[in-house]
Symmetry: C2
Subunit: 234 residues, 2 copies
């Protein structure tokens, strides 16, 4: 009986740490959405809130990392359980960095406050990139929750879209700066916010790769998406 009880407890521990990852993911998703809202509305109070949440996200990363090392030390996980723990250790690093990027976007609200009317058009264009980024993150978290490699593979495809959106914003900002050099300083701020969105896409892609590793036992980082699709979506 002792053994069965232990095993049930172990299952509960794995389930608890998975749930914490999803909770952390939800918080980070909210951070991006609110950071974009703050930037679009010039809402400094909301921007401050996004920044404050960053501490919570950081604490979750540290806590989940501790859970994972405790599980390795006490439970000696093997096979799928071990892949789950390794995937979680890597996933939360990316989630924490997505949170950092959201906080960066929020901080730009302050420096752009006052010039927001001038920049509203650019911010509207950024919404497209932000939407792709948020959807990539959501799909990665969903794929993690449901062990869905098809959804994870789709995220690898989507990364191209957020890169294209970034390059579109970059081209428009360059035109804008050349037409009116007084806009150079605030344009550079917007450019960094757009870069943060592109990086959010990169991190979501990393997370999707860990889901494929977790489910298939295959390390698909550094492999072209066409090949991943052939190998994973047989």
């Amino acid at each position: 009986m002792g053994n069965e009880h232990t095993s049930k407890q172990y299952d509960q521990e794995l389930e608890a740490v998975r749930a914490r990852v999803l909770k952390m993911g939800g918080l980070v998703e909210q951070q991006i959405t609110q950071a974009m809202q703050a930037l679009a509305d010039g809402d400094v109070t909301l921007a401050d809130r996004v920044n404050a949440q960053d501490h919570e996200v950081n604490a979750m990363e540290v806590g989940i990392d501790e859970d994972c090392t405790h599980i390795i030390a006490r439970r000696q996980p093997a096979a799928g359980d071990l892949r789950l723990i390794v995937a979680i250790i890597k996933t939360i690093t990316d989630l924490e960095r997505i949170g950092d990027e959201a906080a960066k976007i929020a901080r730009m609200t302050k420096s752009l406050h006052g010039t927001d009317r001038l920049y509203r058009p650019r911010i509207v264009e950024m919404r497209h990139a932000a939407n792709i980024g948020v959807q990539m993150l959501r799909k990665s978290l969903d794929a993690f929750a449901r062990l869905d490699t098809a959804s994870a593979t789709q995220v690898l495809r989507d990364d191209q879209q957020v890169d294209d959106a970034f390059r579109g914003i970059l081209r428009q900002l360059i035109t804008f700066m050349m037409e009116d050099p007084r806009t150079i300083s605030p344009s550079i701020e917007i450019l960094f916010a757009a870069k943060a969105l592109e990086r959010i896409g990169d991190h979501a892609k990393n997370m999707a790769e860990y889901v494929i590793y977790l489910v298939e036992g295959k390390d698909v980082r550094h492999i072209a998406v066409d090949q991943v699709e052939r190998e994973v979506l047989r």
Copy 2:
């Protein structure tokens, strides 16, 4: 005897994976140095070589990750050994991303080739940021090799320097762009190269934090450097 032999083998396995991390670190360090050289000299051949090395760095990341999961599965590491494995899993992610940033700098050599005379002054200023970044990486790797928390803590301090150097480059580029709007496009390229150097500093800082975790068992991410110094350098 069987047990002793196993333990000796285990020690050799840990030593081998540590050595591989240091080798990967050396390769990545060389990538940054060569990428900056390629950019300064407009040396497209060297830039291509840096890009090609990126595959080698990626393969090392995948290989070391496999070593680590095998060690966890077969050796059931505890305490310091487990911290070493977790620190390595995290460290190689940062090393791989430093390699990516170096490859990005190398790729800029091509797009800036031809305008290099115009940009030589900015590139000279970037050398300062690059030197700090390379030194941070070297110190982090040294701290990892010698389990030296004093050196690791110094890297946390150095991060401020690379951030300051980045902001200096940014200010100069903005002045440059405002004086002559035709320079906007190439200036943005230089700006991204400078941003890559700043990110290299961030990754080296992460690596230094893992060394402190490895030696002290303390997670010092998200803690102000003054407090880390008080707690670690007693």
